[in-house]
Symmetry: C2
Subunit: 206 residues, 2 copies
């Protein structure tokens, strides 16, 4: 298998951390420079016409895009440690948690940065600064909601580390570009959770 | 089970169509009026602090939010007809297709309408008209990409109807609020696919 991916972006990092948690070795990496628009080259578009990294190219040549779908595939191939649910009910509740941190935390963080950070102007053209600023507010509201959630659970989906922690962590780490840190915002539970995730070896794969 | 939901919104409709395709009966519906902010009532927020419909309340009282996670749960409970993949590989590829139509078609359509339509001003406050207009362009670009995809396949995820067709259809039907129809845009394959989905009894559940 080959992973077509890039550096320093949250979605590629989700798959990197998932692979590290699973202890999977031997996936060849092909790295694309997004700032040089390499993900819009003919060879990449042949693998994903929607021009988004990462893409997992299987040994039979089929190409699987979308970070979470790649995780679903790898989870089946490498079931342990389980990160996405051991039965259908747990799988559904972990999917809920994963989507919630993706849509309410990672997405507004990404929108906020893409529409306000000068370094992202080449990727997000045109930028809409007022929309970007409002997404920063949404990010903060969501961070408060997840901080409250962590009053009654240790991890984003419940009592164990799952793919939802990876997604939320990659979102929050990306938020550093906007100088947002949970501890600075007084969100002690979210900050402590962030440190628990950061302490795992998989977090060193950025 | 109880489904806490609303009328005329694309995500509730995804679950309605999924339930209809499965032929599931007996799920009680509790309908919330979004324009009256009923999804921000204490009783709804107790079920989903993120204030989003639909939510499936299980018989043991646990509440499952997020349309696609609800479908994952119902797929396990009612395996036939299969809509999300019969094995892990197919499940991953259908998840990819479902996410692609959700993020590249449904999301820009929803953003476009929420930020430009006067009828959505109460839900999306403030609206950012210039961002909304740009999302209309994204919607059109994505519609072209999916129209091309349908040159080599009959359905969004391949050679059979799946959850990805439901997601894409609910997005496109919502786009009628912005007066967008694939046929008017000269996208003949997307228009024909839309008509195939619309002809199924499940499409009459709006």
């Amino acid at each position: 298998m080959k992973l077509h991916t890039s550096l320093r972006a949250p979605n590629p990092r989700r798959v990197d951390m998932f692979i590290a948690e699973k202890g999977i070795h031997g996936i060849e990496k092909v790295v694309y420079d997004l700032n040089r628009q390499e993900h819009r080259s003919a060879s990449f578009l042949a693998r994903n016409p929607l021009a988004r990294v990462p893409v997992l190219e299987l040994d039979d040549g089929r190409c699987l895009a979308e970070s979470r779908a790649i995780c679903t595939y790898l989870e089946a191939l490498y079931p342990e440690p389980n990160l996405m649910g051991v039965d259908p009910t747990e799988r559904a509740f972990i999917e809920m948690a994963d989507r919630q941190v993706e849509f309410f935390l990672l997405a507004p963080i990404a929108n906020h940065i893409r529409h306000t950070h000068p370094g992202l102007a080449a990727l997000e053209n045109p930028q809409f600064a007022d929309f970007g600023a409002s997404q920063g507010t949404r990010m903060l509201e969501a961070a408060r909601t997840f901080d409250e959630r962590l009053a009654s659970r240790e991890w984003m989906a419940g009592d164990r580390y799952t793919v939802a922690d990876i997604t939320a962590f990659c979102g929050l780490e990306f938020a550093r570009l906007a100088k947002f840190k949970p501890a600075d915002a007084g969100l002690a539970r979210l900050a402590a959770w962030r440190d628990r995730v950061a302490a795992r070896p998989s977090a060193a794969t950025a």
